[in-house]
Symmetry: C2
Subunit: 209 residues, 2 copies
Amino acid sequence: MKTQNIPKATIKRLAVYIQVLSGLKRDGVEVISSEKLARACSVNPSQIRKDLAYFGEFGVRGVGYYVHELISSIKHSLGVDRVWGCALVGVGNLGRALLRHKEFALRGFSIRAAFDCDPYKIGEIVSGLEVVCTRQLKGRVDEFGLEVGIITTPPERAQRAANYLVDGGIKGIVNFAQARIQVPKEVTVEYVDFTHHFYSVAFNISSAD
Amino acid sequence: MKTQNIPKATIKRLAVYIQVLSGLKRDGVEVISSEKLARACSVNPSQIRKDLAYFGEFGVRGVGYYVHELISSIKHSLGVDRVWGCALVGVGNLGRALLRHKEFALRGFSIRAAFDCDPYKIGEIVSGLEVVCTRQLKGRVDEFGLEVGIITTPPERAQRAANYLVDGGIKGIVNFAQARIQVPKEVTVEYVDFTHHFYSVAFNISSAD
DNA sequence: AAATGTATGTGAAAAAATGAACAATTAATG
DNA sequence: CATTAATTGTTCATTTTTTCACATACATTT
């Protein structure tokens, strides 16, 4: 095990491993080798072993990895073996969809508060959660245990949403808005952009001879 | 300009450039240097110039890049300067959200058909589109000009959805389902997984000292 | 308990991506 | 029309990431 700075690509792959391992577990598979797991994930077997080596030794030589145990180990390594409280800012179409999306809670990301600056939306109940004025955000961070911010505003309001989150002491933001945001360097921002995937597919189709 | 195989990371960044450049254009900026654009995108200026160099020479030395022109050039390079017809398979919560999401059409990805295998959903109208039995997919590919598949099924049905798309002659798939799929190598698959971004944020917060 | 087969963990090599540096080119200025 | 200032396109060095190869370790069999 090494305490280097871990590549972002590794984190991304670990998420894939969890996904595939969870599927294997559903199918009753108890042990798997890096080679078979690699095939299912479309990566190189060494890659998997190396990725895991950043965090510890989880396998048994000559045997492989115990599926259930490995899932737990990876989740623990990533810090997702607990529930994270999330604050959503921007109750538009996308925001509503995320509030209703059950998958997040299942994976340990519990949306506990929804904020919007539109007076017509404030007070509305979406998926059992009351929409609150964004100005109230700071005051609810501790009360609701909000740790991660989710921005689902239109692009022009993304920066303001980010400011509210940062001001509230939030240290991690997942930004679904179509805009870059500026935050202090101690705050982590992840940009979610579906269109990039579409562009990638379009490019690949286009450039196939 | 070089005709090498272009890194996936470059494609991803090009999408970011388009996003930021579009914002600049909205704000009336006509010319921008790689340095300023780089700052807005949180990347290195050389990186931008290098990424663009894969596709041509779009700048003017001593001046910079003409914003509007650069957007067009990048879009053309990616093959997204036209409309792509899309088929969505799986009309659940996420599928419905995507069908209602106007952003896709704005960016050139027009969802022209929605498929599901659930008899209760077939015939339903979602966002002006009738839900059709997935078996009908192949027959509608040509008629509707379907080129890109979007999978929004539960994980256990993702592979079947992929099979229908591949069988229909679709060459590019954007997979929102929580499962890996197997397709012939001439078919491009992009996996969309929000949770990866959440994991990344959780990991960063956790490992911050 | 020795031998055998298997699959991990890791160090070294190869490949790829990034960043710095600079020559080339343009516009503006005197 | 030469000079200056600015900024691109591109080469080269550096860093990072990926892949290979093998010693190490475990389980099973004889």
